[in-house]
Symmetry: C2
C-alpha cells in the first residue's frame, strides 16, 4: 500500500506515463546494450580505429566478471601484433599544478600536428574521485570533442596493482586502434607514479614555482624518475619566478647520478593556460625518443618494463594467495603483536607462518 | 704411489715430522672445536658479554647447516628479552670515502665515552670481498683491539635478503651481550642501503666534497634515506671545499619533503683521519634519538621495521618457492621470449605461469 502525501508530485497518480519511446524501441536498446559483440567483431572494429568498440573493450578489461575478462584477454591477444607503435608519455603532478589544462594544451598541440592521442589515467583513488583530472572530463572541454583524441578516466579499484594492470592493457588496445601517442596521467600523491613510470617511455613531472617548499607533497623519489620537469603557470608576473625555480631545479637535478639512458633530465617552463612552452616540451620529448631509439635504450626499457610487470604480477598474486588465506589471518595478527612486545623476531614469525600455510 | 721429484722439498722424505704438539693435545683441540655448546651455555655466556660465545653464536646464525640454524633460533629466542636496548646506526658511503677510518674514529669516540660498540656489516658481495671495510679488519687496527668493541665482517651469501637477515639476527645477540651501540656498515653501491636503512634507528651517509658529480656512484634515493650527511676528509686545504659542499648539500636537502620523523637531515663536516668533527656527529645522533624517543617515533619506526621484515621475509620465501620451482623454469624463459617479440602481455604470461604452478 502506498502512503499518499498531499504534494504536487502525486497529482498525476493513476495516469499512465506518456509513451515517449515505443515499447519496441526501448526493448531493442536494452537487448543491444546487453549483447557483447564477438571477439572477432571487437578486433576488426578496434583495428579500424572505432572508438565505440575500443571503449567497450576497455570496459571488458575493467570488468570484474570472469567471462568479460576472458573475452578481454582474447581481444588483447589478437590486438597485440598491432600494438607497440605508440610513444607512451607519463604525466604527474600534485593537485592544483594544472594537469588537466596542461594535458588539454599538450594534447591539442599533438592532434594539430596530426597525431592521434589517447589519454588514460592511473588513479587508485578514482572510485571516490579525489581530484582525478580525468574523472571530470569537462575540464578538458576541447580535447574531449577532438576526433583524434580519446580520453578515458582511470579504472576504478582500490589496489594500485589492479588499476595499473587494467591501464597497461588498455594501452595495447589504444595502440591497436591507431593511437600513436598515449598519455598516462597520474596524481602525484601516492605510489602510482612508480607504476606509471614502469609503463611509459618518457616521464614528465609538472611543478609550480614557489620558494623552498616546492617539493612539498611530492613523493620522495619522483624527481629522480622524471625525464623532464615542466614548471607550469609561468605566465604574466610569474615568468620571473618560474625562471628562478627552473635554475633551482636544474641545480638539484645535477646532484643526481646520470640515468641509465644517459639522458640528462631537463627543466622547462610553460603556461598551459596561455599555450606557451608547449611546443618546446614536444620537441624535447621527440629529441629524447630519437636518442633512446638510436642507442637501443628505448627497446631495452620496454623489455625491462614487460619483464618487471610479469614478475611483479606473479609476486602480487603469490602474496595475495598467502595473506588472503584464512588460515593465516589470525596467526599473523598474533605474530605482529609478539613482534611489538619483542618476544619474537621477524624471521622466527615468518617461519612459523610459512609452516602454517603448508600444513 | 707418490711420484718423487728431485727438489729440496723432499729431502726429508721418510723422516717423521717433529712432535711440536702432543698427539693428545691436538686431539683435544679438534674435539672441542667440533663440539658446539648447549643453548643454555650460549645464552648464559652471551648475557655475560662473552665475546667468544657471541662470535660462535653468530657463526651458527650464518651457518647453512639446518641443525646449526635450529640451535641459533633457540639462542635467539632466549636472548630476545635482553635485546632492543641499543642504538642502531647505519653508515654507508662509496668505496674511497673513508668508511673504515671513520668507523674507527667514531667507534673509539664512543668507547672512550664508556659505550660498548658492535660493528657489523651488510655486504652481499663479501664472499668475494669487493672492498668491504670489515672484510679487512686490519684497517681498523685500534678498534679491533679495543675490549669494548666487537667487529664482525659481513656474513657471506649472494642474496641480499639472506645476508640482511643474518645481520639483523646478529644485532639481537650483540644487544643481549650488552653492546649499547650497534654500527651497521654497508657499501654504497647496491641495494644494501635500503636493507640497512630498514634495520637502524639512524642512517648516516658519508660523502666527499667535489664539484658537480659528488653523487656519482651513489644509488638513487640514498640521499633521501639519510638522517645526516657527513662530508669526510675535511682536513687541511680541503676544509674550504668541504664547507662549500656542505652548503650545496644543505640546499639540496631542503628540496626534499620533510621526513615522517619530523627530523630535518643535517650536513656535517669531519676528518676521521684527524679526528675532528666526530664529537659533533655523536651529539647530533643523540639529539635525534632524544627527539625521536620523546615523540614516540623511535618505537613506531622499530615496530614498522619489524613488520616490514616479517612481510618481506614471507614475500621472499613465496617468490623463492615459485621461481625455484623446476616446473616454472623453462616456461618462464619462453614467456619472457614471447614478451620480447610482443606476442604476449605480462598479465597473460603471469596467468599462464600461475596456472602451471597449481597443476
Amino acid at each position: 500500500m502506498t502512503k499518499r502525501r498531499p504534494t504536487a508530485l502525486h497529482e498525476k497518480d493513476g495516469v499512465s506515463p506518456p509513451e515517449t519511446t515505443s515499447q519496441k524501441a526501448a526493448k531493442n536498446i536494452k537487448v543491444n546494450r546487453g549483447k557483447i559483440p564477438s571477439v572477432d567483431d571487437f578486433v576488426t572494429h578496434i583495428l579500424k580505429g572505432d572508438i565505440t568498440f575500443l571503449s567497450r573493450a576497455i570496459t571488458l578489461i575493467e570488468s570484474t566478471n570472469v567471462k568479460h575478462q576472458e573475452k578481454a584477454n582474447k581481444i588483447l591477444e589478437q590486438c597485440l601484433p598491432f600494438a607497440h607503435n605508440a610513444i607512451r608519455i607519463g604525466i604527474t603532478g600534485v593537485p592544483g599544478v594544472g594537469k588537466s589544462t596542461f594535458i588539454e594544451a599538450f594534447g591539442k598541440h599533438l592532434t594539430q600536428k596530426g597525431k592521434k592521442v589517447a589519454v588514460l589515467a592511473v588513479d587508485p583513488s578514482s572510485s571516490i574521485n579525489k581530484g582525478s583530472v580525468l574523472g571530470d572530463k569537462t575540464r578538458m572541454e576541447e580535447l574531449v570533442t577532438d576526433k583524434n583524441a580519446f580520453i578515458r578516466p582511470s579504472p576504478s579499484g582500490t589496489s594500485l596493482g589492479g588499476v595499473a594492470q587494467k591501464t597497461k592493457e588498455s594501452i595495447i588496445l589504444c595502440e591497436a586502434a591507431g593511437f600513436d601517442t598515449i598519455i598516462i596521467e597520474t596524481v602525484g600523491v601516492g605510489q602510482s607514479e612508480t607504476a606509471v613510470h614502469s609503463m611509459v617511455d618518457f616521464f614528465l613531472l609538472l611543478k609550480l614555482f614557489g620558494a623552498g617548499d616546492e617539493l612539498q607533497g611530492i613523493k620522495r623519489g619522483i624527481i629522480e624518475m622524471a625525464d623532464a620537469i615542466v614548471i607550469n603557470k609561468a605566465d604574466g608576473e610569474n615568468v620571473k619566478k618560474a625562471k628562478i625555480a627552473k635554475t633551482e631545479f636544474n641545480r638539484a637535478l645535477h646532484l643526481y647520478p646520470p640515468k641509465e639512458s644517459g639522458w640528462q633530465p631537463k627543466v622547462l617552463i610553460a603556461s598551459a593556460l596561455q599555450n606557451t612552452g608547449i611546443d618546446k616540451i614536444h620537441d624535447l620529448i621527440q629529441e629524447y625518443i630519437a636518442l633512446a631509439q638510436e642507442s637501443g635504450y628505448f627497446d631495452k626499457k620496454r623489455n625491462d618494463q614487460n619483464t618487471h610487470w610479469l614478475i611483479s604480477t606473479i609476486n602480487q598474486q603469490l602474496k595475495d594467495a598467502f595473506f588472503q588465506n584464512k588460515k593465516i589471518e589470525k596467526p599473523l595478527e598474533e605474530e605482529i603483536k609478539k613482534l611489538k612486545s619483542g618476544t619474537t623476531t621477524p624471521f622466527l614469525s615468518a617461519k612459523k607462518l610459512m609452516n602454517l600455510k603448508d600444513e
